[in-house]
């Protein structure tokens, strides 16, 4: 079953999750709320048929949680455990936010996003820039992949040579292609009438449905419960 959500609901989810992530979870109940909030975007990813990324996130998050709870304590020492703690720390702390943001980015079409931004009266400048940022992370990853392949063929790899050249050989080509893609994007944006003086209309009709309202209420309730048990008990 496919659940489509309004982009505004998705942005709201991102906001709430990043607020909850900010407040460290200390008791089992708070951990429970946090884990439930992480599961919702994973389920939504499944409902959008993005099985690969959903399962990848689930495994990453699950392994990190298990490691933190059962194998690591504040007494553990040594380099291996330091790296493990680091890895688990980063995953447990930031994964919920990253998963939700990923869900938001991968399932929102740019047109929908712009139209939602317009409905929320966000200034055009911030909306366009933010849309480009959202669209650009996958592009950077793709470009970087092809540059790495090219460098491999030339025999330039991590491990050999000095670090400075390695950064240079990867970053400069990446910047070159990003600048070029930027020019193409601006041409495309002008054909779509971005930056014009007239108010843009949208093909997508945005409306809040029942599922949007339910999810928003669920997340607000989760936030309230979290804050209540963290600071008032």
């Amino acid at each position: 079953m496919r659940i489509t959500l309004d982009p505004r609901t998705k942005l709201f989810m991102v906001l709430i999750v990043s607020m909850v992530v900010l407040m460290p979870a200390t008791t089992p109940l708070l951990w429970g709320i946090r884990i439930c909030m992480t599961m919702i975007p994973i389920l939504l990813l499944l409902s959008e048929k993005r099985y690969a990324s959903a399962i990848r996130f689930l495994i990453f998050y699950g392994v990190a949680l298990i490691l933190t709870f059962f194998f690591l304590s504040k007494e553990s020492q040594g380099i291996l455990s330091a790296i493990l703690i680091g890895y688990c720390g980063i995953v447990v702390q930031f994964m919920p936010g990253i998963i939700t943001a990923w869900y938001c980015v991968r399932t929102t079409k740019i047109g929908e996003f712009m139209s939602a931004m317009q409905k929320m009266h966000i200034p055009d400048g911030i909306a366009i820039s933010l849309a480009v940022v959202m669209r650009f992370f996958p592009t950077i990853k793709e470009e970087y992949g092809s540059i790495r392949d090219a460098m491999k063929m030339r025999g330039i790899m991590f491990g050999g040579g000095n670090a400075l050249r390695m950064v240079e050989f990867r970053m400069i080509p990446l910047l070159f292609s990003c600048v070029n893609i930027g020019d193409e994007l601006s041409a495309a944006a002008i054909t779509r009438g971005l930056g014009g003086k007239v108010r843009r209309t949208s093909v997508v009709e945005l409306k809040l449905h029942a599922q949007d309202v339910i999810l928003m209420m669920l997340f607000t309730a989760a936030l309230l419960v979290f804050v209540f048990f963290k600071y008032f008990r």
Partner: protein, 196 residues
């Protein structure tokens, strides 16, 4: 069309370079989990590595507002990535100040660009803010969340209300040094190729 106003092309440029800067920040950020002293050395790593895209960005800045909008975007993204809202006003303040400095040189003066990049780099320090302002509760929470006490002790030895001034100055200095290096790289690769 009014040429002093920002257009769609400028917004797209901002978006692209913000994305690049975030990637640089994120890659450096990964290193910080190995040892807390690396967290403190962000003030050196990020200005220098990030200066290459930033200098390329500065060559494209011609109007007031581009650097400010970039700082607003950085603040939003840092919030989503879980760095907290305490730093957000600082990030935006650093961005606007950097923008004003660069504008006083009409976005062409190299000296002003160096200064402006130094000021802009102060946004990195904004990320330390939750560590300093809420030091005690933050420490407790970190330990309860499963970090080792060793990591916490080192972290708070490296970053506290005393060292923050040193970190701020270092950040500014390396921002300036980074600007010079970045400018050289941009000249070597991009100006010769005729892209700028």
């Amino acid at each position: 069309m009014n040429s002093s106003k920002l257009q769609a092309k400028d917004f797209i440029t901002i978006g692209i370079f913000t994305a690049l800067l975030i990637v640089v920040e994120f890659l450096c950020g990964m290193l910080g989990y190995i040892h807390p002293y690396i967290v403190a050395s962000y003030v050196i790593l990020i200005p220098i590595v990030g200066s290459i895209p930033m200098m390329l960005f500065y060559t494209k800045v011609e109007k007031f507002g581009m650097i400010s909008i970039m700082s607003v975007l950085l603040a939003i993204i840092m919030f989503v990535l879980g760095m907290g809202y305490l730093g957000a006003p600082l990030i935006i303040a650093a961005g606007v100040a950097a923008d004003l400095i660069a504008r006083s040189g009409k976005y062409k003066s190299f000296k002003k660009t160096i200064l402006s990049h130094g000021v802009f780099c102060l946004w990195i320090c904004a990320n330390y803010f939750p560590v300093i302002v809420t030091a005690d509760s933050y420490r407790e929470d970190l330990i309860k969340e499963g970090y080792s006490t060793e990591y916490c002790d080192n972290l708070f030895r490296a970053i506290n209300s005393k060292t923050i001034s040193v970190l701020l100055i270092l950040c500014f200095v390396f921002g300036c040094i980074g600007a010079v290096i970045g400018k050289k790289v941009v000249k070597k690769h991009f100006e010769k190729a005729g892209i700028v």
